[in-house]
Structure formats: structure tokens, C-alpha cells
């Protein structure tokens, strides 16, 4: 039972240490994410959806409660390279070519990570459809291509858990739809657990097996909705189907209630 759980949060409190008191961002999170699951996290600004992702990535220590990542602390999971992060901005190093950017995980952290990675950058560039652009520089790519490189770089870590913080938030809608389909395909092929933060209701429904809805002021869990019933065997659904529209209306109502 225990080794089917990717992430477990119990009464988790997250916040930032201020000068006099800690500022609470997200409180009382109880959540179990199964291995191989695609969980989308939806919420208004300031609800702490990015904060939760940052805690799992060991970028922010919990203020209270318990958080385990693959049965250990977030810090241990990070050190074993079991967690990878894709930021809203692609965060590619501009002096490196596309291939050199994807190689970065192979060049750093060798001292602390204990397990070996034997996949090649070309494999991941191939998977995100950029095998021809390996010698380009980031400034020569479109926004969507840059984000694909960032995904390839994260996959180069061969993570068990992939954390994505609004990765397609700055892209146009057509590019975003296409990248959503590609991401689902990658998820099928790799079986990676994905936590995906978004502020787009459609994206949250289309990608997620479940959607975690957060409310703001104070940041808290408002609902956890299972989306699997409306998906086919491959996890796909039609964006225009009535169930999707119905769920979107429901989520919009929840967000309105939790926004103020």
C-alpha cells in the first residue's frame, strides 16, 4: 500500500518566515497523491498553489504538519533526483544551446545524487519533438519551443514526480492546446506522476485525472474532484463535451466562492 503513494500531506501548513511572525499562505492540507497520477491544481491568485509545489520540490520548508515525498522528506527526495520542476518561465541558460541545456542535469549534483541516469539528451529532445533544434540557442526559439526544452530538461532527471508551475501560462491558446496534448502523451509514455498548477479551468479539466481546487484568504483546500469518469481509457476527453462544460461551470462557481 505504502509504495503506491507519491505524495502525502497531513495537516500541512506552508508559509514564509517574516520578521515578527510567519505569514501563512496555505493551511491544513490533507492530500494523498498516488504514483502515476496526473493531478492538476487550480485556484485564484494568492491561494498558495505554487507554494504547495515549491514545498514538494524542497524550495520551501513546511511551517507545520507533515509532508512526505515517495516515503521520505522532500529534501531527501530532491537529493535523490526523484523530483523535477518546470517553472512558468522556461529558465533556460541563454549561453547554452538547446542540447547543452537538456544536459545540465547530467553535469550538476553528481556528488549528492546516488542513482545513475542512463538516458541521453537526444532521447528527450526527440520526445518533445525538438531533435532538429539541438544546436539552436534559446533566444532563437519560440515561447512554446522554449517550454518544450524545459520539459525535456526536467525529464532528463528521470524523475518519479514532475512538478509544473503554470508552464504554459504565458503561451497563446493554440500553442497551449497542442502542448497539453503532447504533455498527456509524455505522461502516458513515462508513467511519471505529474502535479500541474494552472489558472485555466479548461486546462485543469483536460489534463488532470483529479483536480485540486484551492481557495484564497486564507489559502486552503476547497475541493478535490475526480475527473476520471469523463475520460477515455487513454485519459483523453473532448474539450467540447457536455460533461467537460458542466464541470467547468461547477469549477468556476467553486473558484468564485473561494476567491474572496
Amino acid at each position: 500500500m505504502g509504495d503506491t503513494i507519491a505524495i502525502e500531506a497531513e495537516g500541512l501548513h506552508l508559509g514564509y518566515a517574516g520578521s515578527t511572525e510567519t505569514v501563512r499562505v496555505l493551511s491544513g492540507v490533507d492530500l494523498v497523491v498516488r504514483k502515476g497520477e496526473f493531478l492538476t491544481i487550480l485556484g485564484p491568485s494568492g491561494c498558495g498553489k505554487s507554494t504547495f509545489l515549491r514545498a514538494v520540490a524542497d524550495l520551501l520548508p513546511p511551517v507545520g504538519g507533515r509532508l512526505t515525498v515517495l516515503g521520505k522528506t522532500a529534501s531527501d527526495a530532491r537529493r535523490r533526483r526523484e523530483v523535477a520542476f518546470v517553472f512558468q518561465e522556461a529558465t533556460l541558460l541563454p549561453w547554452r544551446t538547446v542540447r547543452q541545456n537538456v544536459e545540465l542535469p547530467l553535469q550538476v549534483g553528481k556528488k549528492s545524487i546516488s542513482r545513475s541516469v542512463d538516458s541521453k539528451p537526444s532521447h528527450w529532445l526527440d520526445l518533445v519533438g525538438l531533435s532538429d533544434l539541438g544546436s539552436r540557442y534559446p533566444h532563437q526559439l519560440s515561447g512554446g519551443q522554449r517550454q518544450r526544452v524545459a520539459i525535456a530538461r526536467a525529464l532528463q532527471c528521470e524523475p518519479d514526480i514532475l512538478l509544473m508551475d503554470e508552464p504554459f501560462g504565458a503561451l497563446d491558446e493554440i500553442t497551449r492546446d497542442r502542448l497539453n496534448d503532447e504533455l498527456l502523451a509524455i505522461w502516458h509514455r513515462t508513467g511519471t506522476t505529474i502535479l500541474f498548477v494552472t489558472h485555466s479551468i479548461t486546462e485543469a479539466i483536460y489534463l488532470g485525472g483529479r483536480v485540486l481546487v484551492l481557495a484564497a484568504n486564507p489559502g486552503r483546500v476547497q475541493a478535490l474532484i475526480d475527473l476520471m469518469p469523463m475520460k477515455d481509457d487513454n485519459g483523453f476527453c473532448r474539450r467540447e463535451s457536455p460533461e467537460v462544460q458542466e464541470t467547468a461551470t461547477h469549477l468556476r462557481q467553486l473558484l468564485r466562492d473561494g476567491g474572496a
Partner: protein, 256 residues
């Protein structure tokens, strides 16, 4: 309005015409206005001095080059090391950075006599003055450059469990190199200035000494030749640094 773009012939020809016209005016107009040659020699006379006194000029240029080069290396290496210390020790930085900047406001001409007083008349004080002129721009630029890495980039390195050394070498250093090279290019010309200023105040040899002595002896041709040689030295230093930067970028492109 449509912008008129200059052709390549114009782009290279016009500066040559500009410089040539000024030299021609100097050559013929200045003597015609009655300015004596011991005050302002003609360009032709200066060139003639180069031909006849090249051995003397070169003999005096070598110590200046030597001091400038040593000062360049000393000042810039110390500046980069201190910048690295400042980046990893914010307390030390907060304590000493303002002091360092304040020190920088002392004019080098005012500081030079003190350095001569402390370190004597040898080569060392000239090297120190040249080093001081290189030190400040490089310290400020490198400190800024090493802090250019964005929060996201640092977080990326943390998630990848990169060590401090790896974060420095793979992220902070490449971020800082454009700024570092910018200040190295400035240093390439200022280190020559530093060496000459040091020689003005206490030296019997070097371009600075030649400049002072020929001024007092009304040897205008020699003075102008020495000034011209000092300027050429700066240009050569600058070109050398620019060339090193070009090689560095080529290497970086290959290794990432």
C-alpha cells in the same frame, strides 16, 4: 522620414577623411597662424622624431608596459577574488562595499604621492597605482555580474541538487563574464594611465618620466611622440583583451 543608410565605402572612408583633414589642418594651419614648433610641433615632425628616437622611446616604453601589465593582473585578480567573497558573504559585503566605493572617490592624482611616499621610488608603487585603477571597476562589475542569476535559475540549481561550486561555475560565472570583460576592456587602457601617473611623480624612466622631462625641457616633438606611444600602448592592450574575449566566447560555445 526615411533614414539614409551609409554605404560601406562611406562608413570606412568618412572617418579617414575626418582624421586626415584634422591632421592636415594641424600640419599647415597651425604653423601658418604663427604657433612656434617648440610649443606645438607638426605631425610630420612628430613622425620624424619617432624615426630618429625610436630606440630611446622604446627603452622607456618597456618599463611602462611592464608596470601596466603587472598592475592590470594584480588589480583585476584581487577584484574578482574579493567579488567572489562578497557574493558568498553578504555581511562582509554590507560592511566593506561602501568603504571600498568611498575609497574609489579619491582622485588617483591625489592618491599617487601617498603611494610613492609609502612604497618608495621603485616599480612597486607604479604597479599599485595601475592596479588601483583596474581594481574598482572590476570589483563593482563582477560583484554585480555574479549576482545577476535570477531567483528561478538559483531554484533550478537547488532542485537539481547542484553544489555551491557547480552553481558558481555553471550559473553565476557565465552570467558575470560579459560584465567582467567590459571592465577588463576599461582596465586595459586605465592601467597604462596608472603607470604613467606613477612615473610622473617619482621615476627617471618610463613614458611618464619622458613626458614630464620633455615638457620641462621644451622638447615638444619628443613629448608628443611619448604621448602618442602611450596612447598606442592603450590601444594594443585593449585589442589584446578584446581578442582574449573572442577566444573565450568561442571556447564557451563549444563546452556550454
Amino acid at each position: 522620414m526615411i533614414k539614409h543608410r551609409l554605404s560601406i565605402v562611406e562608413m570606412t572612408g568618412l572617418p579617414a577623411i575626418g582624421a586626415g583633414s584634422l591632421l592636415a589642418a594641424w600640419q599647415w594651419l597651425i604653423p601658418a597662424l604663427g604657433v612656434p614648433a617648440y610649443i606645438l610641433p607638426t605631425p610630420a615632425a612628430v613622425v620624424r622624431t619617432f624615426a630618429t628616437e625610436w630606440r630611446f622611446l622604446l627603452l622607456n616604453a618597456v618599463p611602462t608596459w611592464y608596470e601596466a601589465l603587472l598592475g592590470f593582473l594584480l588589480g583585476n585578480i584581487l577584484a574578482v577574488l574579493l567579488a567572489i567573497v562578497f557574493v558568498y558573504n553578504p555581511r562582509l559585503r554590507t560592511a566593506y562595499f561602501p568603504v571600498v566605493l568611498l575609497f574609489n572617490t579619491i582622485p588617483v592624482l591625489a592618491l599617487a604621492p601617498i603611494i610613492i611616499l609609502v612604497f618608495g621610488l621603485g616599480i612597486l608603487p607604479k604597479v599599485i597605482i595601475a592596479a588601483l585603477l583596474c581594481f574598482f571597476p572590476t570589483l563593482v562589475n563582477t560583484t554585480r555580474g555574479l549576482n545577476l542569476a535570477t531567483a528561478n535559475e538559483l531554484e533550478l540549481m537547488h532542485v537539481l541538487s547542484a553544489s555551491d561550486w557547480e552553481t558558481f561555475w555553471r550559473l553565476r560565472a557565465p552570467r558575470a563574464t560579459p560584465l567582467l570583460f567590459a571592465s577588463l576592456r576599461i582596465s586595459a587602457t586605465t592601467c597604462v594611465i596608472g603607470a604613467i601617473v606613477g612615473e610622473w611623480i617619482g621615476s627617471n624612466e618610463g613614458l611618464g618620466a619622458v613626458i614630464i622631462q620633455s615638457t620641462f625641457n621644451y622638447q615638444a616633438e619628443r613629448l608628443f611622440a611619448a604621448v602618442l606611444l602611450a596612447s598606442l600602448s592603450g590601444i594594443v592592450f585593449f585589442t589584446a583583451v578584446a581578442q582574449i574575449e573572442r577566444i573565450f566566447h568561442r571556447q564557451q560555445r563549444q563546452s556550454g
